[in-house]
Amino acid sequence: MTLDRRSFLKLAGAGVGAAGLPMIGRAAELMPKGAKRVVVIGGGYGGTIAAKYIRMMDKSIEVVLIERNDHFVSCPFSNLYIGGVIKDLNPLTIKYDKLAANHGVTVVQAEVTGIDPAGKVVTTSKGTVSYDRLVLSPGIDFRLEEMKGYDAAAMEIMPHAWKAGPQTVLLRKQLEAMKDGGNMVMTVPLAPYRCPPGPYERASMVAHYLKKNKPKSKLIVLDANPDITSKGGLFKKGWKDNYEGIIDYRPAKKVTEVEPGKMTVLIEGLEDVKGDVINVIPPQRAGQIAVAAGLVGDDKNWCPVNPTTFESTKQAGIHVIGDACVAGAMPKSGYSANSEAKICAMNVVALMNGKETTEMSGINTCYSYITDKEAVSVAAVYAVKEGKIIAVPNSGGVSPADFSAAKTEAIYAQSWLKNILTEMST
């Protein structure tokens, strides 16, 4: 790249725009666009991989990765931290410096405040960035209007811990501070939400902690769904074998309101449940930036995309990957986001160069811990059939029902994390 990014950002940070004029009123251009530029928004499981793979496939395309934080904390494995199985979040944390050094990705730490699909411009807290194509991997935001009383202040009292970081640390601290004999309450939203088996793995890890440290305590799981949404048989067996009398699982209990002052949650105005620690996982939709850009579909929640290119069906030139998009049979998981990012990257490169696109082939692999030494998995291979992403028949599925592979899978899960985070950060 001919542009000196560092001095440029310094310039912009000092309040001087690209044209040398003070940034008053509207944002100035942060970096002039060369021949070919893709902007990627979001430095998580999807965005990092899209940025890296576009650069791996075509060095003539400038890639600007915009992320508001200077690091990323993985949601996968954060339940193990909550349950005290891992000591800190360091093994779950990545930085972006090597994506810049190894692949020439231009990383900009800034908050995206708007997208102009017609003008192909992203507005950030540091200035505007023009693009030829935009890849959006914004993750999720919460449908707070469906959870009365759950505002920013309530989140500090009843953490969601569904975006890993300070919220994860807060929930663990609360759990540690709880007296033996206290009850934790956890709420699960109706599917679809980020990471289908995540709430049940969290229940397992919390129960593991309670069994060891607070044997008189219980975990009450209030699940809006009629049954466990993923790996159901395996979780049920795991709970029966390990956490009988600790996990009180209550299906079809949709929490619609919280009262942080009373440490109470309300189930559709009919029933209230008290907790000493309350973990509210609210209903979700695509990240706010995708909603604001008009990318969500008729459901007003998730972003419909072309199953080959992951280009939005609502706005041309914008691709949506990860939890925010509707990817047919692919679940909202970290590995799906990784796989979608590569499919998207390959086809973005093709489209940028006027070449033929390539049909998708994807994978999801997802491990959930039941105890500190046992994990179960679900896996699938995905392909396109009649314009839809489907799981390839007669393949994939969950771990053996008898837990015969559970100890081995707990070991594999650790390498899963190591490899996927290394892919994202090097």
Binding site: T358, E359, A380, A383, V392, S395, T408, T422, E423
Partner: protein, 192 residues
């Protein structure tokens, strides 16, 4: 060729939306990149229980996937995944990984074991695990720089009978002591 015309049409915007919906079937990179979440970018693994696929021969990958698919080789997750691919897909992926260069790993190994293992390799294994395990004869897998925990896990599967040793390998391994095998694994882990 039609592809060239399509490229021109896409670039100039002549092609209609419906024609654009036609995409080429999954390429080698499309198929293989999906594996990298667990096996590392281009098949170079950073996870100690996952094998690197980079620089494995096409034959080795095809053989491993065939055995995962039919259950002959024990696995937790690979059997379920292998069933999602046709024989042609697998051959394509095998070719992709065979073209990637060896993924050198930096592991803590025991120097004395490495030295002992080097001697054993030459006299016992070198006919199939050629170039100190950097290459393999026919469908013999590349051993060089694989992670020790992975090598240990596979050796346990062999010794318990859950994974069947090829006849020639069984002949060579049988007379070896556990210490000999341990030395060999340290040797392979050390090769770059």
């Amino acid at each position: 060729m039609t592809m060239k015309w399509k490229g021109w049409a896409l670039a100039t915007g002549v092609l209609t939306i419906s024609a654009m919906a036609q995409a080429a079937p999954p390429s080698a990179a499309m198929l293989s990149n999906a594996c990298a979440g667990c096996h590392g970018t281009n098949g170079g693994s950073a996870g100690p229980s996952m094998p690197s696929l980079a620089s494995q021969s096409k034959e080795a990958i095809v053989e491993a996937m065939k055995k995962f698919k039919n259950g002959e080789r024990p696995s937790s997750i690979m059997g379920r995944i292998a069933k999602g691919y046709s024989d042609a897909d697998i051959a394509t992926m095998g070719e992709f990984f065979s073209k990637q260069k060896l993924h050198a790993t930096n592991q803590t190994v025991d120097a004395a074991k490495v030295k002992k293992g080097a001697g054993l390799q030459e006299s016992n294994c070198g006919r199939c695990h050629i170039e100190d395990g950097r290459e393999g004869k026919d469908d013999t897998p590349v051993m060089a720089s694989q992670w020790l925990p992975y090598l240990h896990m596979q050796m346990e599967l062999y010794q318990s009978g859950k994974r069947k040793m090829p006849e020639k390998m069984a002949e060579k391994v049988k007379p070896l002591s556990n210490d000999d095998i341990e030395a060999l694994l340290h040797f392979y882990a050390s090769v770059k």
